[in-house]
Symmetry: C2
Subunit: 115 residues, 2 copies
DNA sequence: CCTCTCTTTCGACAAACATCGTACATGGGT
DNA sequence: ACCCATGTACGATGTTTGTCGAAAGAGAGG
């Protein structure tokens, strides 16, 4: 059976000038994804499995895709692992102050110091 | 038939210290609701039917409820009309800079000057 | 080659969501 | 009293979403 697409599906990352702020807001309006982003705001890059979230691996993959397609994160392959990083510069370029304002609003709400 | 609840259902508005930033983001991650908010950012208060959106009246009521329950807008009765205003001070108090950063990001994206 | 770990894809499911049409309530005019 | 304008509530519908488990791919190491 012609399984045309190998598993390494060449991760799709939108260009910075294609970002849609509504997609970014939607991507961030979820506790699991917000945790991912906050974790990345502290660490520059992490392997997929090392995030302090409590969902099944396949669910995590789903959340990464939402974030990636909104332009919030970038993922790259390294052997068996997939590394995830914030696209902070790109976001800052297109929507200045947006990410930090949102992240620090969440930090204020939860009482944690993230800024 | 005991139709216990009169139509005037005493509009529910959360206190500012109950705002959830995830709810606010979700409320704003919709084009219709974003249009409502941007319109209110320019005008202090408007009647429900005067927003430049293209949805059915009942759909509009739904969007107002989402915004209201997230703490983004306040609504008050006046005779037959319902007036809608941004809860800008309350939002600013709880999540400094959040609303304007988001609204101006959207403005930047659509090319309109909203800041 | 075989196995173990990491991560993805697929299929399924229930819950939430945006949308609408219809019916109804309220209040202002005539 | 009647009608019209404004806006809501309800019920229905189709779509999106978050979640999972099972199966499988890819690389590392024995």
């Amino acid at each position: 059976m012609p399984r045309s697409h190998g598993r390494r599906a060449t991760l799709v990352h939108p260009d910075a000038d294609e970002f849609d702020v509504l997609d970014v807001l939607h991507a961030l309006a979820d506790p699991t994804r917000m945790t991912i982003v906050r974790t990345l705001r502290a660490d520059p890059e992490r392997a997929c499995g090392t995030f302090p979230v409590d969902v099944a691996p396949s669910t995590l993959t789903h959340h990464f895709r939402v974030l990636r397609e909104a332009g919030v994160i970038r993922q790259r392959e390294d052997g068996n692992r997939r590394w995830t990083a914030l696209r902070f510069e790109d976001l800052e370029d297109r929507f200045p102050g947006l990410l930090d304002t949102i992240v620090s609003a969440y930090g204020r709400q939860t009482g944690s110091a993230t800024t």
